[in-house]
Symmetry: C2
Subunit: 223 residues, 2 copies
Amino acid sequence: IVSFIDVTKTYETQEGPVHAVENITLDVKSGEYLAIVGPSGSGKTTLLNLAGSLDHPSSGTVLFRGQNLAELSRREMAALRRQEIGFVFQTWNLVKGLSALDNIRLPMAFARIPKQEQITRARKLLELVDLADREDHPPDQLSGGQQQRVAIARAIANKPRVLLADEPTGNLDEETAQTIINLLRQLNQTENVTVLCATHDLALASVADRSVQIVEGRLQQDG
Amino acid sequence: IVSFIDVTKTYETQEGPVHAVENITLDVKSGEYLAIVGPSGSGKTTLLNLAGSLDHPSSGTVLFRGQNLAELSRREMAALRRQEIGFVFQTWNLVKGLSALDNIRLPMAFARIPKQEQITRARKLLELVDLADREDHPPDQLSGGQQQRVAIARAIANKPRVLLADEPTGNLDEETAQTIINLLRQLNQTENVTVLCATHDLALASVADRSVQIVEGRLQQDG
Ligand SMILES: Nc1ncnc2c1ncn2[C@@H]1O[C@H](COP(=O)(O)OP(=O)(O)OP(=O)(O)O)[C@@H](O)[C@H]1O
Ligand SMILES: Nc1ncnc2c1ncn2[C@@H]1O[C@H](COP(=O)(O)OP(=O)(O)OP(=O)(O)O)[C@@H](O)[C@H]1O
Ligand SMILES: [Mg+2]
Ligand SMILES: [Mg+2]
Protein backbone atom coordinates (compact mmCIF):
# COMPACT_ATOMS: atom_id res chain seq x y z
CA ILE A 1 0.00 0.00 0.00
CA VAL A 2 3.04 2.24 0.54
CA SER A 3 6.08 1.84 -1.69
CA PHE A 4 9.44 3.54 -1.60
CA ILE A 5 11.32 3.27 -4.88
CA ASP A 6 14.98 4.20 -4.53
CA VAL A 7 14.07 7.13 -2.28
CA THR A 8 16.67 9.59 -1.08
CA LYS A 9 16.08 12.62 1.12
CA THR A 10 18.86 15.12 1.56
CA TYR A 11 18.39 18.28 3.60
CA GLU A 12 20.35 21.28 2.41
CA THR A 13 21.57 23.22 5.41
CA GLN A 14 23.95 26.09 5.97
CA GLU A 15 26.43 23.57 7.25
CA GLY A 16 26.17 21.44 4.14
CA PRO A 17 23.91 18.60 3.01
CA VAL A 18 22.47 16.14 5.54
CA HIS A 19 21.69 12.73 4.07
CA ALA A 20 18.65 11.81 6.10
CA VAL A 21 17.71 8.72 4.06
CA GLU A 22 19.49 7.17 1.09
CA ASN A 23 18.34 4.77 -1.63
CA ILE A 24 15.42 3.37 0.29
CA THR A 25 13.47 0.70 -1.52
CA LEU A 26 10.68 -0.74 0.60
CA ASP A 27 7.27 -2.24 0.03
CA VAL A 28 4.65 -2.06 2.76
CA LYS A 29 1.81 -4.49 2.06
CA SER A 30 -1.77 -3.57 2.74
CA GLY A 31 -2.72 -4.76 6.23
CA GLU A 32 0.89 -5.25 7.29
CA TYR A 33 2.30 -4.19 10.65
CA LEU A 34 5.84 -3.01 9.97
CA ALA A 35 8.28 -1.77 12.60
CA ILE A 36 11.13 0.55 11.65
CA VAL A 37 13.96 0.22 14.11
CA GLY A 38 17.25 2.07 14.28
CA PRO A 39 19.48 4.42 16.26
CA SER A 40 18.73 8.03 17.05
CA GLY A 41 19.23 10.11 13.92
CA SER A 42 19.09 7.16 11.53
CA GLY A 43 16.13 8.40 9.46
CA LYS A 44 12.97 6.88 10.99
CA THR A 45 11.01 10.12 11.28
CA THR A 46 12.12 11.12 7.80
CA LEU A 47 10.84 7.82 6.40
CA LEU A 48 7.46 8.29 8.05
CA ASN A 49 7.22 11.89 6.87
CA LEU A 50 7.86 10.75 3.31
CA ALA A 51 5.26 7.99 3.61
CA GLY A 52 2.68 10.48 4.83
CA SER A 53 3.64 13.09 2.26
CA LEU A 54 4.65 15.58 4.95
CA ASP A 55 7.87 15.84 3.01
CA HIS A 56 8.99 15.04 -0.53
CA PRO A 57 11.95 12.95 -1.61
CA SER A 58 15.04 14.56 -3.14
CA SER A 59 15.03 11.65 -5.59
CA GLY A 60 13.05 8.46 -6.05
CA THR A 61 9.33 7.89 -5.73
CA VAL A 62 6.88 7.28 -2.93
CA LEU A 63 3.67 5.51 -3.94
CA PHE A 64 0.51 5.42 -1.87
CA ARG A 65 -1.97 2.86 -3.16
CA GLY A 66 -0.17 2.97 -6.47
CA GLN A 67 -0.28 6.76 -6.76
CA ASN A 68 2.87 8.84 -6.88
CA LEU A 69 2.50 11.19 -3.92
CA ALA A 70 4.50 13.91 -5.64
CA GLU A 71 1.97 14.00 -8.50
CA LEU A 72 -1.17 14.48 -6.45
CA SER A 73 -2.95 17.80 -6.51
CA ARG A 74 -3.16 19.76 -3.27
CA ARG A 75 -6.78 18.72 -3.01
CA GLU A 76 -6.08 15.04 -3.45
CA MET A 77 -3.25 15.30 -0.96
CA ALA A 78 -5.47 16.95 1.63
CA ALA A 79 -8.15 14.27 1.17
CA LEU A 80 -5.53 11.58 1.64
CA ARG A 81 -4.23 13.06 4.85
CA ARG A 82 -7.74 13.68 6.12
CA GLN A 83 -9.15 10.24 5.54
CA GLU A 84 -6.59 7.61 4.69
CA ILE A 85 -3.52 8.41 6.74
CA GLY A 86 -3.27 8.86 10.49
CA PHE A 87 -0.05 10.28 11.97
CA VAL A 88 1.23 10.04 15.53
CA PHE A 89 4.03 12.61 15.77
CA GLN A 90 7.16 12.10 17.84
CA THR A 91 6.44 15.47 19.48
CA TRP A 92 2.66 14.92 19.61
CA ASN A 93 1.74 18.30 18.08
CA LEU A 94 -1.56 18.76 19.91
CA VAL A 95 -3.43 22.03 19.57
CA LYS A 96 -2.69 24.01 22.69
CA GLY A 97 -5.98 25.79 23.18
CA LEU A 98 -8.21 22.74 22.71
CA SER A 99 -9.30 20.12 25.21
CA ALA A 100 -8.25 16.49 24.78
CA LEU A 101 -11.73 15.75 23.43
CA ASP A 102 -11.62 18.56 20.88
CA ASN A 103 -8.11 17.65 19.80
CA ILE A 104 -9.38 14.17 18.98
CA ARG A 105 -12.51 15.57 17.28
CA LEU A 106 -10.49 17.82 14.98
CA PRO A 107 -9.75 15.32 12.19
CA MET A 108 -13.35 14.12 12.32
CA ALA A 109 -14.59 17.67 11.93
CA PHE A 110 -12.40 17.98 8.82
CA ALA A 111 -13.89 14.76 7.49
CA ARG A 112 -17.36 16.27 8.03
CA ILE A 113 -18.46 13.69 10.54
CA PRO A 114 -21.66 14.84 12.31
CA LYS A 115 -20.97 16.54 15.63
CA GLN A 116 -22.65 14.03 17.92
CA GLU A 117 -20.85 11.17 16.24
CA GLN A 118 -17.57 13.05 16.71
CA ILE A 119 -18.17 13.35 20.42
CA THR A 120 -19.24 9.75 20.86
CA ARG A 121 -16.25 8.42 18.96
CA ALA A 122 -13.79 10.77 20.69
CA ARG A 123 -15.04 9.57 24.07
CA LYS A 124 -14.65 5.95 23.02
CA LEU A 125 -11.08 6.66 21.92
CA LEU A 126 -10.27 8.42 25.18
CA GLU A 127 -11.44 5.31 26.97
CA LEU A 128 -9.24 3.10 24.78
CA VAL A 129 -6.18 5.12 25.82
CA ASP A 130 -7.29 5.28 29.45
CA LEU A 131 -8.00 9.03 29.62
CA ALA A 132 -11.77 9.15 29.88
CA ASP A 133 -11.60 11.35 32.98
CA ARG A 134 -9.45 14.01 31.30
CA GLU A 135 -11.53 14.88 28.24
CA ASP A 136 -11.93 18.56 29.10
CA HIS A 137 -8.29 19.19 29.90
CA PRO A 138 -6.06 20.98 27.35
CA PRO A 139 -2.51 19.72 26.67
CA ASP A 140 -0.80 22.00 29.18
CA GLN A 141 -2.80 20.36 31.93
CA LEU A 142 -1.71 16.89 30.89
CA SER A 143 1.45 14.92 31.57
CA GLY A 144 3.82 13.97 28.74
CA GLY A 145 2.50 10.46 28.44
CA GLN A 146 -1.09 11.68 28.59
CA GLN A 147 -0.45 14.05 25.70
CA GLN A 148 1.15 11.22 23.77
CA ARG A 149 -1.96 9.12 24.27
CA VAL A 150 -4.25 11.92 23.10
CA ALA A 151 -2.07 12.15 19.97
CA ILE A 152 -2.54 8.43 19.37
CA ALA A 153 -6.31 8.68 19.79
CA ARG A 154 -6.41 11.62 17.38
CA ALA A 155 -4.41 9.71 14.77
CA ILE A 156 -6.93 6.87 14.64
CA ALA A 157 -10.05 9.03 14.94
CA ASN A 158 -10.94 8.79 11.24
CA LYS A 159 -10.21 5.07 11.01
CA PRO A 160 -7.34 5.65 8.62
CA ARG A 161 -6.24 2.98 6.21
CA VAL A 162 -2.62 3.55 7.18
CA LEU A 163 -1.33 4.57 10.59
CA LEU A 164 2.12 6.18 10.73
CA ALA A 165 3.27 6.08 14.34
CA ASP A 166 6.50 7.80 15.36
CA GLU A 167 7.71 6.53 18.75
CA PRO A 168 4.15 6.16 20.12
CA THR A 169 5.29 4.71 23.46
CA GLY A 170 8.37 6.83 24.13
CA ASN A 171 6.87 8.52 27.18
CA LEU A 172 4.86 5.63 28.58
CA ASP A 173 5.53 3.18 31.38
CA GLU A 174 5.48 -0.54 30.61
CA GLU A 175 1.86 -1.06 31.53
CA THR A 176 0.44 1.93 29.69
CA ALA A 177 2.69 1.10 26.73
CA GLN A 178 1.18 -2.40 26.68
CA THR A 179 -2.28 -0.87 26.34
CA ILE A 180 -1.08 1.01 23.28
CA ILE A 181 0.72 -2.05 21.89
CA ASN A 182 -2.49 -4.05 22.18
CA LEU A 183 -4.52 -1.24 20.64
CA LEU A 184 -2.24 -1.01 17.61
CA ARG A 185 -2.15 -4.77 17.17
CA GLN A 186 -5.92 -4.96 17.38
CA LEU A 187 -6.39 -2.16 14.85
CA ASN A 188 -4.08 -4.08 12.56
CA GLN A 189 -5.62 -7.52 13.05
CA THR A 190 -9.34 -6.80 13.30
CA GLU A 191 -9.67 -3.60 11.31
CA ASN A 192 -6.94 -4.26 8.77
CA VAL A 193 -5.16 -0.97 9.42
CA THR A 194 -1.68 -0.93 7.91
CA VAL A 195 0.71 0.15 10.66
CA LEU A 196 4.10 1.69 10.00
CA CYS A 197 5.73 2.22 13.37
CA ALA A 198 9.09 3.85 14.06
CA THR A 199 10.26 2.85 17.49
CA HIS A 200 13.06 2.11 19.93
CA ASP A 201 10.69 0.05 22.07
CA LEU A 202 11.54 -3.58 21.37
CA ALA A 203 8.28 -4.76 22.96
CA LEU A 204 6.39 -2.65 20.46
CA ALA A 205 8.55 -3.83 17.54
CA SER A 206 8.06 -7.45 18.57
CA VAL A 207 4.33 -7.44 17.84
CA ALA A 208 4.96 -6.34 14.27
CA ASP A 209 4.69 -8.79 11.38
CA ARG A 210 8.04 -7.63 10.17
CA SER A 211 10.71 -5.17 11.17
CA VAL A 212 13.33 -3.40 9.12
CA GLN A 213 16.48 -1.81 10.45
CA ILE A 214 17.72 1.58 9.36
CA VAL A 215 21.23 2.80 10.05
CA GLU A 216 22.54 6.18 8.90
CA GLY A 217 19.73 6.56 6.42
CA ARG A 218 20.06 3.15 4.79
CA LEU A 219 17.96 0.05 5.21
CA GLN A 220 19.88 -2.99 6.36
CA GLN A 221 19.52 -6.16 4.34
CA ASP A 222 17.18 -8.08 6.52
CA GLY A 223 13.81 -9.00 5.07
CA ILE B 1 20.32 17.77 49.68
CA VAL B 2 16.70 17.92 48.54
CA SER B 3 13.91 17.26 51.03
CA PHE B 4 10.19 17.02 50.55
CA ILE B 5 8.26 17.47 53.79
CA ASP B 6 4.64 16.39 53.47
CA VAL B 7 4.38 18.04 50.06
CA THR B 8 1.12 18.24 48.17
CA LYS B 9 0.54 19.85 44.78
CA THR B 10 -3.00 20.33 43.58
CA TYR B 11 -3.77 22.08 40.31
CA GLU B 12 -6.98 24.05 40.25
CA THR B 13 -8.59 23.65 36.84
CA GLN B 14 -11.92 24.55 35.33
CA GLU B 15 -12.81 20.91 35.61
CA GLY B 16 -11.99 20.80 39.29
CA PRO B 17 -8.86 20.11 41.33
CA VAL B 18 -6.20 17.72 40.03
CA HIS B 19 -4.16 16.10 42.77
CA ALA B 20 -0.79 15.82 41.05
CA VAL B 21 1.19 14.78 44.15
CA GLU B 22 -0.03 14.13 47.68
CA ASN B 23 1.74 14.03 51.02
CA ILE B 24 5.17 13.39 49.63
CA THR B 25 7.89 13.01 52.22
CA LEU B 26 11.24 12.17 50.68
CA ASP B 27 14.89 12.80 51.47
CA VAL B 28 17.44 12.88 48.70
CA LYS B 29 20.96 12.59 50.09
CA SER B 30 23.81 14.60 48.66
CA GLY B 31 25.57 12.53 46.01
CA GLU B 32 22.71 10.05 45.70
CA TYR B 33 21.36 8.71 42.41
CA LEU B 34 17.62 8.36 42.87
CA ALA B 35 15.20 7.04 40.25
CA ILE B 36 11.52 8.00 40.39
CA VAL B 37 9.44 5.37 38.67
CA GLY B 38 5.71 5.25 38.05
CA PRO B 39 2.91 5.16 35.50
CA SER B 40 2.06 7.92 33.08
CA GLY B 41 0.32 10.73 34.96
CA SER B 42 1.49 9.60 38.39
CA GLY B 43 3.33 12.81 39.34
CA LYS B 44 6.98 12.34 38.30
CA THR B 45 7.31 15.58 36.35
CA THR B 46 5.48 17.45 39.11
CA LEU B 47 7.94 16.09 41.69
CA LEU B 48 10.91 17.22 39.64
CA ASN B 49 9.39 20.64 39.02
CA LEU B 50 8.92 21.09 42.77
CA ALA B 51 12.50 19.98 43.45
CA GLY B 52 13.82 22.51 40.95
CA SER B 53 11.52 25.25 42.16
CA LEU B 54 9.81 25.51 38.78
CA ASP B 55 6.62 25.14 40.74
CA HIS B 56 5.58 25.63 44.36
CA PRO B 57 3.76 23.17 46.60
CA SER B 58 0.13 23.74 47.57
CA SER B 59 1.14 22.61 51.05
CA GLY B 60 4.26 21.25 52.68
CA THR B 61 7.88 22.32 52.24
CA VAL B 62 10.65 21.67 49.75
CA LEU B 63 14.16 22.21 51.08
CA PHE B 64 17.25 22.59 48.93
CA ARG B 65 20.45 22.31 50.96
CA GLY B 66 18.41 23.09 54.03
CA GLN B 67 16.79 26.19 52.56
CA ASN B 68 13.04 26.46 52.08
CA LEU B 69 12.66 27.09 48.35
CA ALA B 70 9.48 29.07 48.87
CA GLU B 71 11.36 31.56 51.07
CA LEU B 72 14.18 32.39 48.69
CA SER B 73 14.27 35.79 47.05
CA ARG B 74 13.96 35.94 43.28
CA ARG B 75 17.65 36.64 43.09
CA GLU B 76 18.64 33.69 45.23
CA MET B 77 16.28 31.50 43.23
CA ALA B 78 17.82 32.59 39.93
CA ALA B 79 21.32 31.93 41.25
CA LEU B 80 20.27 28.47 42.36
CA ARG B 81 18.83 27.56 38.98
CA ARG B 82 21.79 29.05 37.18
CA GLN B 83 24.51 27.28 39.10
CA GLU B 84 23.32 24.49 41.32
CA ILE B 85 20.47 22.82 39.50
CA GLY B 86 20.46 21.34 36.01
CA PHE B 87 17.13 20.35 34.43
CA VAL B 88 16.52 17.99 31.53
CA PHE B 89 12.92 18.60 30.47
CA GLN B 90 10.60 15.87 29.22
CA THR B 91 9.93 18.06 26.17
CA TRP B 92 13.54 19.27 25.88
CA ASN B 93 12.67 22.98 25.59
CA LEU B 94 15.60 23.95 23.40
CA VAL B 95 15.77 27.47 22.01
CA LYS B 96 14.58 27.26 18.42
CA GLY B 97 16.75 29.88 16.84
CA LEU B 98 20.04 28.74 18.36
CA SER B 99 22.47 26.06 17.21
CA ALA B 100 23.11 22.99 19.36
CA LEU B 101 26.37 24.58 20.49
CA ASP B 102 24.73 27.85 21.47
CA ASN B 103 21.90 26.07 23.25
CA ILE B 104 24.49 24.34 25.40
CA ARG B 105 26.43 27.58 25.92
CA LEU B 106 23.39 29.45 27.16
CA PRO B 107 23.53 28.47 30.87
CA MET B 108 27.28 29.08 30.86
CA ALA B 109 26.75 32.56 29.48
CA PHE B 110 24.31 33.22 32.32
CA ALA B 111 26.92 32.00 34.79
CA ARG B 112 29.38 34.46 33.24
CA ILE B 113 31.81 31.82 32.07
CA PRO B 114 34.33 33.34 29.61
CA LYS B 115 33.34 32.85 25.99
CA GLN B 116 36.21 30.63 24.89
CA GLU B 117 35.70 28.38 27.87
CA GLN B 118 32.00 28.14 26.98
CA ILE B 119 32.82 26.98 23.49
CA THR B 120 35.43 24.47 24.61
CA ARG B 121 33.14 22.96 27.22
CA ALA B 122 30.10 22.90 24.91
CA ARG B 123 32.15 21.00 22.34
CA LYS B 124 33.30 18.51 24.94
CA LEU B 125 29.68 17.96 26.00
CA LEU B 126 28.55 17.49 22.41
CA GLU B 127 31.17 14.81 22.08
CA LEU B 128 29.94 13.10 25.27
CA VAL B 129 26.45 12.82 23.80
CA ASP B 130 27.79 11.81 20.39
CA LEU B 131 26.76 14.94 18.47
CA ALA B 132 30.09 16.59 17.75
CA ASP B 133 29.29 16.82 14.04
CA ARG B 134 26.00 18.67 14.57
CA GLU B 135 27.13 21.65 16.65
CA ASP B 136 25.94 24.28 14.18
CA HIS B 137 22.51 22.78 13.61
CA PRO B 138 19.45 24.32 15.29
CA PRO B 139 16.78 22.07 16.87
CA ASP B 140 14.53 21.93 13.81
CA GLN B 141 17.36 20.31 11.89
CA LEU B 142 17.82 17.61 14.50
CA SER B 143 15.98 14.38 15.16
CA GLY B 144 13.97 13.87 18.36
CA GLY B 145 16.68 11.87 20.06
CA GLN B 146 19.34 14.36 18.96
CA GLN B 147 17.38 17.22 20.53
CA GLN B 148 17.00 15.19 23.69
CA ARG B 149 20.77 14.72 23.85
CA VAL B 150 21.40 18.44 23.36
CA ALA B 151 19.01 19.06 26.26
CA ILE B 152 21.02 16.67 28.42
CA ALA B 153 24.30 18.36 27.51
CA ARG B 154 22.81 21.76 28.30
CA ALA B 155 21.59 20.59 31.71
CA ILE B 156 25.08 19.57 32.82
CA ALA B 157 26.92 22.50 31.22
CA ASN B 158 27.39 24.38 34.50
CA LYS B 159 28.37 21.29 36.47
CA PRO B 160 25.31 21.55 38.66
CA ARG B 161 25.26 20.08 42.11
CA VAL B 162 21.88 18.46 41.41
CA LEU B 163 20.67 17.13 38.07
CA LEU B 164 16.91 16.77 37.62
CA ALA B 165 16.34 14.54 34.59
CA ASP B 166 12.82 13.98 33.29
CA GLU B 167 12.70 10.92 30.99
CA PRO B 168 16.18 11.60 29.56
CA THR B 169 16.20 8.45 27.38
CA GLY B 170 12.58 8.41 26.17
CA ASN B 171 13.54 9.02 22.55
CA LEU B 172 16.74 7.04 22.40
CA ASP B 173 17.57 3.58 21.10
CA GLU B 174 19.19 1.08 23.45
CA GLU B 175 22.74 1.86 22.46
CA THR B 176 22.46 5.65 22.58
CA ALA B 177 20.50 5.34 25.83
CA GLN B 178 23.38 3.33 27.27
CA THR B 179 25.74 6.22 26.49
CA ILE B 180 23.49 8.52 28.49
CA ILE B 181 23.09 5.98 31.30
CA ASN B 182 26.87 5.74 31.57
CA LEU B 183 27.24 9.51 31.45
CA LEU B 184 24.77 10.05 34.28
CA ARG B 185 26.32 7.30 36.36
CA GLN B 186 29.77 8.74 35.85
CA LEU B 187 28.66 12.26 36.79
CA ASN B 188 27.20 10.78 39.93
CA GLN B 189 30.15 8.60 40.88
CA THR B 190 33.15 10.69 39.90
CA GLU B 191 31.79 14.22 40.18
CA ASN B 192 29.37 13.64 43.03
CA VAL B 193 26.42 15.09 41.17
CA THR B 194 23.14 14.25 42.90
CA VAL B 195 20.84 12.78 40.24
CA LEU B 196 17.06 12.75 40.52
CA CYS B 197 15.77 10.92 37.48
CA ALA B 198 12.13 10.35 36.51
CA THR B 199 11.94 7.51 34.06
CA HIS B 200 10.06 4.58 32.56
CA ASP B 201 13.34 3.08 31.33
CA LEU B 202 14.12 0.22 33.69
CA ALA B 203 17.72 0.04 32.43
CA LEU B 204 18.16 3.65 33.50
CA ALA B 205 16.44 3.09 36.84
CA SER B 206 18.61 0.05 37.52
CA VAL B 207 21.84 2.05 37.75
CA ALA B 208 20.36 4.23 40.47
CA ASP B 209 21.38 3.77 44.11
CA ARG B 210 17.74 3.72 45.02
CA SER B 211 14.40 3.98 43.33
CA VAL B 212 11.05 5.10 44.65
CA GLN B 213 7.70 4.32 43.11
CA ILE B 214 4.97 6.86 42.69
CA VAL B 215 1.37 5.94 41.92
CA GLU B 216 -1.42 8.50 41.55
CA GLY B 217 0.64 11.16 43.26
CA ARG B 218 1.66 9.09 46.28
CA LEU B 219 4.96 7.46 47.07
CA GLN B 220 4.75 3.74 47.65
CA GLN B 221 6.26 2.37 50.84
CA ASP B 222 9.45 0.97 49.50
CA GLY B 223 12.70 2.39 50.80
N1 LIG C 1 -0.62 22.37 34.88
C1 LIG C 1 -1.42 21.33 35.19
N2 LIG C 1 -2.75 21.53 35.39
C2 LIG C 1 -3.55 20.50 35.71
N3 LIG C 1 -3.15 19.24 35.87
C3 LIG C 1 -1.85 18.97 35.69
C4 LIG C 1 -0.91 19.99 35.33
N4 LIG C 1 0.31 19.42 35.21
C5 LIG C 1 0.15 18.11 35.47
N5 LIG C 1 -1.15 17.85 35.76
C6 LIG C 1 -1.71 16.54 36.13
O1 LIG C 1 -1.04 16.09 37.30
C7 LIG C 1 -0.82 14.67 37.20
C8 LIG C 1 0.66 14.38 37.30
O2 LIG C 1 1.31 14.92 36.16
P1 LIG C 1 2.85 14.67 35.86
O3 LIG C 1 3.17 15.47 34.63
O4 LIG C 1 3.66 14.95 37.07
O5 LIG C 1 2.86 13.11 35.55
P2 LIG C 1 4.08 12.18 35.07
O6 LIG C 1 4.26 11.13 36.09
O7 LIG C 1 5.27 13.03 34.74
O8 LIG C 1 3.49 11.52 33.75
P3 LIG C 1 4.23 11.02 32.38
O9 LIG C 1 4.95 9.78 32.74
O10 LIG C 1 3.07 10.80 31.48
O11 LIG C 1 5.12 12.13 31.93
C9 LIG C 1 -1.41 14.22 35.88
O12 LIG C 1 -2.70 13.69 36.09
C10 LIG C 1 -1.48 15.48 35.06
O13 LIG C 1 -2.53 15.46 34.13
N1 LIG D 1 14.86 19.57 8.63
C1 LIG D 1 16.07 18.97 8.73
N2 LIG D 1 17.17 19.64 8.31
C2 LIG D 1 18.38 19.06 8.41
N3 LIG D 1 18.62 17.83 8.89
C3 LIG D 1 17.56 17.13 9.31
C4 LIG D 1 16.23 17.65 9.28
N4 LIG D 1 15.39 16.72 9.78
C5 LIG D 1 16.15 15.67 10.13
N5 LIG D 1 17.45 15.90 9.86
C6 LIG D 1 18.57 15.00 10.05
O1 LIG D 1 18.31 13.81 9.29
C7 LIG D 1 18.74 12.66 10.03
C8 LIG D 1 17.56 11.73 10.25
O2 LIG D 1 16.62 12.38 11.08
P1 LIG D 1 15.33 11.64 11.64
O3 LIG D 1 14.54 12.66 12.40
O4 LIG D 1 14.63 10.94 10.53
O5 LIG D 1 15.98 10.56 12.62
P2 LIG D 1 15.28 9.51 13.60
O6 LIG D 1 15.70 8.17 13.20
O7 LIG D 1 13.80 9.79 13.65
O8 LIG D 1 15.93 9.87 15.00
P3 LIG D 1 15.35 9.77 16.51
O9 LIG D 1 15.31 8.33 16.84
O10 LIG D 1 16.39 10.52 17.28
O11 LIG D 1 14.01 10.43 16.51
C9 LIG D 1 19.32 13.17 11.35
O12 LIG D 1 20.73 13.25 11.24
C10 LIG D 1 18.72 14.55 11.48
O13 LIG D 1 19.55 15.43 12.19
MG1 LIG E 1 12.55 10.51 15.11
MG1 LIG F 1 6.23 13.48 32.98
